[in-house]
Every structure is written in C-alpha cells, then in structure tokens.
C-alpha cells in the first residue's frame, strides 16, 4: 500500500482494503463429521449456525428421493430410454441443499450435472430428462421455474447468471442467482469473466463450485495450482468459502450466509464444495481407467445421506418408520418416472421450425414448406 497517487508521480491500483473478509476458511466448513456427529466449525472465518432440524429433515428427504431418481435415470440408459446420463450420486448434499435454500424470487443456472437439483426444484422429472432422452434441448419452461436451460458448454452459464442477477438488482428485486459449475469448469474463460462481471456490477450471484475432483478423467491437480478453488474469488474481490460438500448441514449453512451476503447488497459470493462423484462421468464413461477402487471406497464413508440420517436419528427427528416411509416414497417416484419414460413421447418433427426465431423468417418458412412437401410426397409414395 506504499504507493499513493497524491505524490503525482506514481499511480497505484492498490486499494486500501483488507482481504480478510474475502478469504475462505482454512479448512472446509463442516458441521457434521463422517459419523453424523455434530462438530464446531472452529476454524471457520464466518459464523455458521446449525440449520433447524426441520430444514435438515427436508434436505435429507430430498437427498433420498434424489438419489433414487438418479439411480433410476442411470438404469434408464441401460434400457435405451436415455441416450446418456451424468449421475450426481455422492453429490446429493450439493445438489439439494443449495436449491432448498433459495427463496421464491431466486434464479438457478444449472449444468448437465444438475438433474437432481432440478428434481429438487420441483420441475417435472420427465421434462428435466427430455434433454438426455433427446426429445428437446430443454424440456421445461425456464421463465416459469426461474431456472435457466441446463448448460453443456462449460461455464457459459456464469456470465448469464451475472447478467440476470444484475438485472434483478437493477429492478430492485431481492432475488439472487445461484450458478453451478464444476471444478473443471473453473479453468474456462467464462468462469473468470462471469466472476469479474458479477463483482464489478455488484450482482447478487452465488457461484457454487462442485469440486468432485474430476473433469471426466482429469484430476483437479492437473486443473489448477490454486490452494483451493475458493481462492479464485479473491482476485476478483469476491468473498469466498470452502465447505465439506458431503455435509448437507454445512452446505445449507454456508448457502444461508452466502444468500444473506448477496441480499444485503454485498455483491457475489463464491463457494467451493468438496465432494466426489461416485459414478463414472456418465454411463458412457469408464472410470476405472483413471481412478482406483480404493479411492472410491474412501468416499463411501463420507456419504452425505447416511451422515445426515445418523444425526437426524440421533436427534429423534426421524426413526425407522420415517426412513421406511421416505424410501417407499422414493420407490414410488422412481416407478412413476420409469413408467412415464417408457411411454414414448410423440415427436413432431415439424415443430423444429417453430422457434428458430421469435418471428419466423421467410427462409425458415421456406425450409419448413420444403420439408412438409417432402414428407407429404413420401406418405403418398
């Protein structure tokens, strides 16, 4: 800070602000240990309080259902009903807790990994999966659900979130945009542009990095030399945190802090959640080519669902009966999903011309007429 501009010689960009408030905690924030025993987040830099048992029960329930629907979706690929499915098994706490922490005015910007998050958001499962079945690029109405179309080009959704959040701020709404991205995605240019624009515009965005250690086969060690992905926020002046992404209580608590930060006009917030995907990248991937069985099994003991379940049982919030009831509910939803996915949707090829433009152009109309004529000729032949 020694350089100052008032000597008229040297100009400095050094700002007289500390960085303490931006820094993530030295260890991932944790409220439940691997056995589901409550622990004090003693090294945490901010105040994280244990969410209420009711909220945690809701998170647990959505995780149980989400996991079941996720497994059902993978099974649907084997039955030829889905072209591909990127599973989020093992990442349930990250998929569910952030979504349930949102308020009614908030927006969600998901990637291809977020099917479970979208189920949790209350979007019809078949609408969600129509992308992966190959019926539609986005099966739901983004405006109705305040949920953008799932993005496949990595990190491209982040500038969108920055713009949408900036738009909400300009309109005087108190909405926040929650934007998901993976550890690999943090290397893309749009990750950096999205963070920087959100920071400069003071846009209320929670950037939620699910660090599951892999970008397909490439491990995090080949992705970055940053001490933690949470440090990537600091250079942009964004308050950042890291959390045990398999501890749903901690994820919910950190999300609460992040949302409050955004709603109080402090600009964006970055969260790195340490987690692990238990399945391969998608059903089409062979994970044994790049990671060992031992590595995978160390993560079994960190399972997000059993951990929270243990705490809820210990507190007497749930018991065998509740667990059985929620599992039955999950089975029922999986069965319904299975049935509905086995029903082939009627596809209308001519609909492909419907929405190329808001107002169709003569060229689109001409192409449509040509295809219509071809198909009519084909029917007559």
């Amino acid at each position: 800070m020694g350089l100052s501009s008032d000597d008229g010689v040297m100009q400095s960009t050094a700002r007289q602000v500390g960085v303490e408030h931006l820094l993530p905690s030295p260890e991932p924030v944790r409220l439940l240990d691997e056995h589901g025993t409550q622990v004090l987040p003693s090294s945490a830099r901010r105040d994280y309080v244990m969410p209420t048992p009711e909220r945690l029960r809701a998170v647990w329930r959505a995780m149980v259902i989400g996991r079941r629907l996720d497994a059902q979706s993978t099974a649907l690929t084997k039955q030829g009903r889905l072209a591909v499915y990127p599973s989020a098994r093992g990442q349930e706490a990250c998929q569910v807790a952030p979504v349930l922490s949102l308020g009614p005015g908030d927006w969600l910007f998901p990637t291809y990994r977020e099917s479970m998050a979208l189920f949790t958001r209350g979007i019809d499962e078949v609408e969600v999966l129509s992308l992966l079945r190959g019926d539609r690029h986005c099966g739901y109405d983004p405006m109705r659900h305040r949920t953008a179309a799932q993005c496949t080009p990595l990190a491209t959704q982040l500038p969108h979130a920055a713009g949408a959040a900036y738009g909400m701020k300009r309109r005087g709404e108190d909405g926040v945009a929650l934007a998901f991205v993976g550890d690999g995605g943090t290397s893309e240019g749009d990750f950096h542009e999205g963070l920087n624009f959100a920071a400069v515009f003071g846009a209320p965005v929670v950037f939620f990095v699910q660090n599951n250690n892999y970008a397909i086969s490439v491990p995090l060690s080949k992705q970055t030399k940053a001490p933690s992905l949470a440090y990537k926020g600091i250079g942009y002046g964004i308050s950042s945190e890291q959390v045990d992404g398999n501890d749903a209580a901690a994820v919910l608590s950190v999300m609460d802090v992040a949302l409050a930060h955004c709603r109080s006009g402090n600009g964006p917030f970055l969260i790195e959640a340490h987690t692990y995907r238990m399945e391969a990248h998608t059903n089409a991937d062979d994970a044994t080519r790049y990671r060992t069985g031992e590595e995978v099994s160390t993560w079994i003991s960190r399972d997000p669902v059993t951990r929270l379940e243990a705490w809820l049982r210990e507190r007497g919030v749930i018991d065998d009966e509740t667990v059985a009831a929620v599992q039955a509910e999950a089975e029922e939803q999986a069965a319904s999903l299975r049935d509905r996915m086995h029903d082939d949707a009627t596809l209308r090829p001519m609909s492909l011309f419907d929405n190329v433009f808001a107002t169709p152009t003569p060229q689109v109309r001409a192409a449509e007429a040509m295809v219509r004529a071809e198909s009519e000729a084909g029917e007559q032949a």
Binding site: T156, A164, A177, D190, D354, F357, A358
Partner: protein
Amino acid sequence: MSAMTSVQRLTLAKGLNQGLRKAMEDDPKVVLMGEDVGKLGGVFRITEGLQKDFGEDRVIDTPLAESGIVGTAVGLALRGYRPVVEIQFDGFIYPAFDQIVSQVAKLHARSLGHLKLPMVIRVPFGGGIGAVEHHSESNEAYFAHTAGLRVVAVSDPADAYWMIQQAIRSDDPVMFYEPKRRYHERAEVELDEAAEAPLPLHRARVTREGTDVTLLAYGPTVKTCLQAAEAAAAEGKSLEVVDLRSLSPLDLDTITTSVKKTGRAVTVHEAATFLGMGAELAALVQRECFHHLEAPVLRVGGYNIPYPPSRFEEEFLPGLDRVLDAVDESLAY
C-alpha cells in the same frame, strides 16, 4: 432533440447515435454495453453523449471481455432488458463467438420459445481505414450461417438511424454490421417524431435502377457499386444496384425481381468470396432465376487470404475497377 422536426444532414455515425438515443428514450429497458462506450462514447463515438444524458446505468462501460459482455447481456435479456452490445472492432468478436452461436442464437429454440433474446450486437466492420490487423475484418458470414441470428448491414445514414431502432425492437437477436469506412458519409435523415421507417428491417432496397446488370451489395460496397454504376452509365451501360440491407433473412423477392429484369448479377462484398454471402446469393439466384439468366452469377470480393497489411488494402478491397471488370465479363458472356 426530441422536439426536432426537420430533415438533417447527418453522418452514418450520427445517424446511429440518434437512432440509439431515440430507442433509449422510447424504451427504458434498452441498455448499451461495451468497451469504452460510456464517457468516451466508443472508439468511433457512436454512443457519444448518451451516457451523459442517460446515466451510467443505461450506458455501461463493461470490463474488457467480449464473452463476458455478450453472456451478461443474455442474462439481462432474461430479466426483461434489451441490451445493445458494442463490439469494439470486428476482429475482437471472436472471444464472444461461443456465447453468440451456442447461446444467443439457440436459446429461443432450446427453450421452445419461452426465452426471448431481444439483443443487438453492433459490429463496426470492414476495411479501408488503414488500420492494423484485426481491425478490418468482414465476418458476417459466420453469423449469417448460424440459425437463430438475424444479420443486417447498414450502408447509409438514414438506414443507420432507422435500422438500429428496428433491430432494438426485434424480439430476436440481431447482429448489426456497421461499415466503419462509411461512418463519416453524410446524407439527409428525417428525424421527425412522427416519421416512420421507410422500409422494414429485413427488406432489400433497389438503390439505383438499371436494366443491364444487377449489382448485389451491402454495407461498405453499396457506395462502391453506386460509383461503378455512375461510371458505367458514362459508357452507356445501365447497372441496377441492390442494397441487401439484411443478410439473414435475405429479401429474395427484391433480389430475384431485379435479376429477372436484368438477366445478369454480380455480387460485391469485402469478405472473401469463398463461402461468403456471394456464394449463397449465386446459389439462390441460379435456382430462382435460372431461365432468366444470360450469364453466370459472378462474385467480386476479398481474396481468400488473411486481411492484408493496410498498404495492400487498395489491391485487396473490391474497388470500382474490379466491379466494372466483372460487369464487362458478365456482359461479354
């Protein structure tokens, strides 16, 4: 300004500026964003004075990152804004290419029409200003090739004034190409409050009538073609000049009506002819006007090489001589 009732002589740059001003007055959801568009008024001064009058919230100096600018504009559009993005120079649009072709162009179709993207991406384009590399490119064909984008190019001050307003009112994304070497050309523009746009956004215009050969041009080469027609007239040849104005969609009616009348067509643009707009025009014209054609459709354009250092521009850009040579070739067929 709003009380202005008369016809004024404006430059193309000023026409754009006045059109932007009018659009911003008409609709508070219109926001301008880009590099240096605020205090400076843009490197070409197209947004001059607008930040002063509409404030920093309406004319936003963004961080320097084209993908971020376009991506953020997408988000603003999702929340009901009508962003007008300025790309500083043609050659710097490429960092935003992914956002434009993968996101801007597709979101409406992808969301089955639920998401509208009423945004305009302004691109000063073309050469002839003696610039260093990356400042003289004509990349319109990349975007015209992309379904979901509307692509237009202005050639004169009145069109600049009207077409920018029409583009901003479009519920579809519009790539708006501005011929930077014509920014300072002047012409009369009707600025009356009650005046209406002389033509819809996607209509071509017969700028000069003729009977022997049709010249199809847009942006900077419209003037080149008008000069060629003038020179040809002195030799007794009658050239018709069609300003396409819209590259996607194309106004095929105006184009084919002209070519059916003259029986000959020459396309003229700065972009390389290989897979350029001229290639599409030639294909469509031969399909639609086959029995009227007296000669093959000929193409005049940039060579298929990187845009050259500025001291070679004269040779590279399609000028009068090359246009007239093509006309002669067509007539001598």
